[in-house]
């Protein structure tokens, strides 16, 4: 049981929870949140790739063999920043959409866009 509940599997579950949120919600804000959950899950997955519990943080130059792999950590900082910026852009657009159409429902907005 303890083998199944590890960070990798938890992050996979989280990813598909996020995907479910994207598929099932018509609310734009909820879609943005759900996509963010997917992003965070993917980041969590990458950070914990090939990680063992006895590893130490990759800081300094002593005891290199015991350190965790620094590459995914470095990459995921970039991914986190990207996630924040795209979220910021999408929320900005959402504010504009909400002002124009007065709703946060994808379906209603697409209806109003396509039929005047």
């Amino acid at each position: 049981m303890g083998d199944i509940i590890n960070v990798q599997n938890v992050s996979l579950v989280l990813f598909f929870v996020g995907l479910y949120g994207v598929l099932s919600n018509r609310n734009i804000i909820k879609s943005i949140i759900a996509v963010n959950i997917m992003d965070v899950a993917a980041i969590l997955f990458l950070i914990t790739v090939n990680r063992r519990p006895d590893q130490i943080p990759p800081i300094g130059s002593q005891n290199v063999a015991a350190m965790a792999d620094p590459l995914p950590q470095a990459l995921m900082i970039t991914a986190i920043v990207i996630g924040i910026s795209v979220t910021a852009v999408s929320i900005t657009l959402f504010i504009g959409l909400f002002r124009r159409y007065g709703t946060s429902d994808w379906q209603k907005i697409v209806y109003r866009v396509d039929r005047g």
Binding site: F15, G18, L19, V22, L23, S24, N25, R26, I28, S31, I32, V35, M38, D39, A41, A42, I43, F45, L46, V49, N50, L71, P72, L75, T78, A79, I82, S85, V86, V89, S90, L93, F94, G96, L97, R100, W106, Q107, I109, V110, Y111, V113, D114, R115
Partner: protein, 552 residues
Amino acid sequence: MNSYLYSVPLYVPVLLPVVAAAVGYFVQTKVYKHLLIAVQVVQVFLAAILLARVRTAGAILERLGGWQAPVGIELALDEISAPLVLLVTVVFLLLVLFNYRKLYMVNTFQFLLVSLQGVMISLFLTSDVFNVYVLTELTTIIVTVLILFKRGKPALYNGMVYLMFSILAMAFFLLGIGFVYRTFGVLDFAGITERAAALENPRALILPYALMVTAVGMKAGLLPMFGWLPRAHAAPSAPSMVSALLSGLQVKVGIYLFIRLQQMIGLTLDTTGFFLVVGLLTAVSGFLLAICQRDIKLVLAYSTVSQIGLIMIGLTSGSVIGFWGGMLHIVNHALFKALLFLTAGLIAKEYGTRNLDQIRGTFRRMPLVTTAAFLAVLGMTGAPFFNGSISKYLIESGLAGGTRWQAAIYLVNFGTMLVFTRYATVFFGRPAARSGGSSVTDRSTRPVDPWTRVVALVFGAAILGIGLFAGPVMSALFPVESPLELVSGATAAGKAVAFAGTLAAAVTVYLFGVSRLSVLERVREMSVSFNGMAILMSGFLGVVLVFLFATV
């Protein structure tokens, strides 16, 4: 001097536009414009040098920062990416020249535009999947802002859908990267290719591949995932230059990434049959939807989907000729679709409407622009002596499947002709009286800028030129012996007859069938919301997974 130029580092064409655009941002618009045009000229020059170097001395590989491959970042330019870099620079130069006097060429717009060029070129140069992720997200943001650039038009929804859908796809891609790193421990293309070939259990590759190919397929606009494409490419607020850029170049980045992905896993998993079918379905559904549209830009956007399908068929045909035919079609499509969007923008502005049924007689009203558009239509439909006929012929002759696949190509070409028969109705007839509305008279006092007409004709000349000099152009761009019964008289006559026959059939079907159907109205009214698109994308992922688990 010569050898110094010859060894120009790869990061120059990436950094030059971005740095120039950022440094010059605060000068007057007039000066800035000329600065950036100069940058574009230099870019074309650099890209041509790099292509020549790749063709003579083989692929170029550069390490940034002095680190070795798995850790450091590498830039690479090879025979696939070099022609595409040249294509990007040439199309950008022509677009910037075309827009020389447009009012929306303010500093912010130009800054975004030119940075987008840098990012696009770096996507072609990068050889690391994580960089692909970063750069793709960057293009997504820039493109979103560009789509929404003209204020006051109701197009926020188009930008929003494009943005959200891209982010969603890139979340798939990121998880795919995670699996790749877990399986292989490297992220660069060469390392993955090497270790994927040595994998003892190919099934370990299925999940990362499916995730990544779904994301890349969304970027390229493959069958169930092209819902965003017409919305983004034909957004009412996007200047026609941006539409041209997106349809001509941006989609091709997705296709390029698909080629790279196939190279990486090609030795382990065989998905060519699958994507051949996906390509055909994309091509067919693209032209079926294009016929239904009434908006001049939407017709062009859906026709892009159809041509993407054709390119996919060529690239996955599994033969050398088919592959390079697909590559040539990427180049050709970039040229004629960019020209079509530009001229469509001019026509729509002149008539004050984007409704195909209300525009008539552009030949009389704007002869030069229409001539350019007509050249593009001829290229698009694969008329003899035009570039489209060459690439379509190469794709067709690269297909091994025999007559069934050739019939499929004919079907796609027939559909393209049907779409452009409808499109060409705007060229003929008699224009409505100019005094029809105040908006029309206002516009007609300001005739089309002669400058834009010249650039449009240059585009048209390029389309015809590639067709006439197909052999030399092919061997200059691509490492393939130009196959060349192309030039011989017998096949040319045969192709001309085939073209005329298909055209006659298309016109007949259009006049007596399509133009009278009421189904079109209903299809046009169909709209898929964001959730629908997401479901379709997950469905694509599911189908890829099922296909791979069943066959591997």
